[in-house]
Amino acid sequence: MRKLGWCRSILFALMLLPAQLLAATEHSDAVVLVTDTRKFHGWEAWWANLYNESHVLFAIVTILVIPVCGVILGTLADLVMSRIGIDLKKRALAEH
């Protein structure tokens, strides 16, 4: 029953997201930006082309790449931190 309540709350929050998205994009919709792909090769050219062809795909790739890279880099930094002898499991200070 409690789980159902949480699901409802999350669903409600998700329902509000598109409205906010629309409100935020309202002013910038009139401007169309294109990038000059002639200066680039390889993945950079692919990326610039993706931007010109579909902003939706561009947005999806962006929001996938950033957290994935964040987690990978964070894990690597974790390994380095534990190598230098820092206890990464507990925090001794307990104060308000």
């Binding site: 409100a23 994009t25 990464l88 925090r91 104060e95 308000h96």
Partner: protein, 356 residues
Amino acid sequence: MGWMHMLMPIAGVPIFWPGLVILGFGVGIIGGFFGMGGGWMVTPGLNILGFPMAFAIGTDIAQMSGPSLISTMRHSRFGNVDYRLGATMVIGTVAGFETGAQIIMWLERIGKIDLYVRCGYVVLLTTIAAVVFTDVRLRRKKERAARASGKTLDALATGLEWHKKLHEIKIPPVVHFKRAGIRCSIWLPIAVSFLTGTLAGVLGIGGGLVRMPALIYLLGCPTHVAVGTDLFEVAISGLYGAASYSYKGRTELLAALIMLAGASIGAQIGSVATKYVKGYGIRIFFGVAVIGCAISIVLKILGVVAESMVKTFDLAATILILGLVAALSLCILTKFVLGVREERALRSREEELIHA
């Protein structure tokens, strides 16, 4: 254009990439330490490096989710993240953002929106700074009184105790947030997050700057849990912001990834540094950051008022923000290095004792 400059595929401008790494590193440290996305410091930094303002804002918001995610993971292992509280607050934050956006549209119809928003920002930041330092002063007073009577003050004692009054409002359902150690009506975190979300929506910021003190003073979260839980929310709103700005075509993923390389290390340092600094130490650092931020906005307002000197005031505001980022990062880095040294020394002493 030498190897130190890189042509950005979307914005089409050459950027000094080591500058992006340094900026990411600084923001990672400060964000991980205070529980903020750091929009107020990254945007002017990216603008100085050569990004047009629209791309500076979009790229700043897009990169925010990366370091906050790293910091949330780290804080989570220290037990500093109350996911249940964070998830509850997302509801109020989203509704608040929407209300804030509506208020902005209403203000746009009146005109002079920038001036109103900036003035509101200054009032808000001044209030936050006043609250933080009043709390610190009251706590010190309690410490002195306890010392005078030969006692030691409870580690969980606070200066301001507004949250205790708010916890007395028991509108059902009453819930217990275990990590934060709070027992209150579920409507309290929803109302607080709605308020902070509205402010963030009106001011056009991620909200960490407002939410962190609200978690401490209105909900009664311990400082470390407030930092961790706020980061969890910043990671969620950062992802949403990344989607929104990318859809508008105003993000530069390459720049965000280069910044992430610096931020991944910075975020770890900032998060681990909270291990070595007491809750009230974090609050004092935070108060200083808020004052610096408020002064920079006052300079921007002066630029609007005295139009002939707009460039001078803008430059002064940017220098102040970047100087503040550098100074705070250095302070936190020093605390981190000293803390690590002390921890290692303590551990080697313990090992020696075991051998003996």
